[in-house]
C-alpha cells in the first residue's frame, strides 16, 4: 500500500526566511503533485513532477523530485504572508495524499 509522509506537519516561518517541506513516499512512482489549500477552500494545483530530477519553480516556490530516494521537496524562498496555507503532496494515480503541511508566515 502506497504511503505518503510529509514533514513538518506544522510550520511557522518568519517573513523573508527560507524553508523546505519534505514529502516521502513508500513505493515506486513516476508522478508527484503539489497542491495548495486555503482554509475552507479547494485544492489548487502548484506543480506536476514526472521524472527523476525534475525541478519546477513558480515565484517563491520550487519543487523537485528524486524518484530513487522517493523524495520530493517544496522549497520556499523569502516567505511572504500570502504563502500561508496548507500544502499537500500527492503521488500516483489515483492520488494518494500526505497529511499536509500547515504553513503560517508571520511578520
Amino acid at each position: 500500500e502506497l504511503k505518503v509522509e510529509q514533514n513538518p506537519l506544522f510550520l511557522s516561518m518568519q517573513e523573508g526566511k527560507n524553508y523546505t517541506i519534505y514529502c516521502n513516499y513508500s513505493t515506486t512512482s513516476d508522478r508527484l503533485y503539489w497542491y495548495r489549500q486555503d482554509p475552507g477552500k479547494s485544492l489548487e494545483s502548484l506543480f506536476v513532477l514526472l521524472s527523476n530530477g525534475a525541478v519546477k519553480q513558480e515565484g517563491r516556490l520550487m519543487a523537485s523530485l528524486d524518484t530513487k530516494a522517493r523524495l520530493s521537496t517544496l522549497h520556499i524562498t523569502a516567505a511572504v504572508h500570502d504563502l500561508s496555507a496548507t500544502y499537500f503532496c500527492a503521488v500516483d494515480t489515483p492520488l494518494v495524499f500526505g497529511k499536509g503541511t500547515r504553513l503560517s508566515v508571520i511578520a
Binding site: V4, Y33, L43, L49, L95, V96
Partner: protein, 117 residues
C-alpha cells in the same frame, strides 16, 4: 473557461439519510474522480470514472456509489449516512485516464461540505 463545478456547496443531513452530490468536469475532460477530505486530513480517494466506466475504487464501504453520465458529469451517492461521513467531498477532473505527457494532472472543484447530524 469554467473550471470544475460541484453542487450543492453545503449540505446538512441526519444519520440514516441518503445524499447525492454532483460534479461537472472541465469541458473536454473525460475523467472524474471523487475524494473525501475529513477536517485536518489529506483527501482520500473514493472513485475514478473514465468514459462512463469505473476505473478505480478506494477503501470505502458499499454505501458509497457513483456514476458518470454521457456528458461526463458525475454523481456521488452515499446511503445510510453516518456521523463519520461528515467531510468535504471533492471532485477532480482530468483529460485522460493515464496521460504520460501531462501526468494526468487533476483539477479540483470547490467541493461540497457535508454535515451529518
Amino acid at each position: 473557461d469554467a473550471g470544475v463545478t460541484q453542487s450543492p456547496t453545503h449540505l446538512i443531513k441526519t444519520r440514516g439519510q441518503h445524499v447525492t452530490l454532483r460534479c461537472s468536469p472541465i469541458s473536454g475532460h473525460k475523467s472524474v474522480s471523487w475524494y473525501q477530505q475529513v477536517l485536518g486530513q489529506g483527501p482520500q480517494f473514493i472513485f475514478q470514472y473514465y468514459e462512463k466506466e469505473e476505473r478505480g475504487r478506494g477503501n470505502f464501504p458499499d454505501r458509497f456509489s457513483a456514476r458518470q453520465f454521457p456528458n461526463y458529469s458525475s454523481e456521488l451517492n452515499v446511503n445510510a449516512l453516518l456521523l463519520g461521513d461528515s467531510a468535504l467531498y471533492l471532485c477532480a477532473s482530468s483529460s485522460l485516464f493515464r496521460d504520460r505527457v501531462t501526468g494526468n494532472e487533476q483539477f479540483f472543484g470547490p467541493g461540497t461540505r457535508l454535515t451529518v447530524l
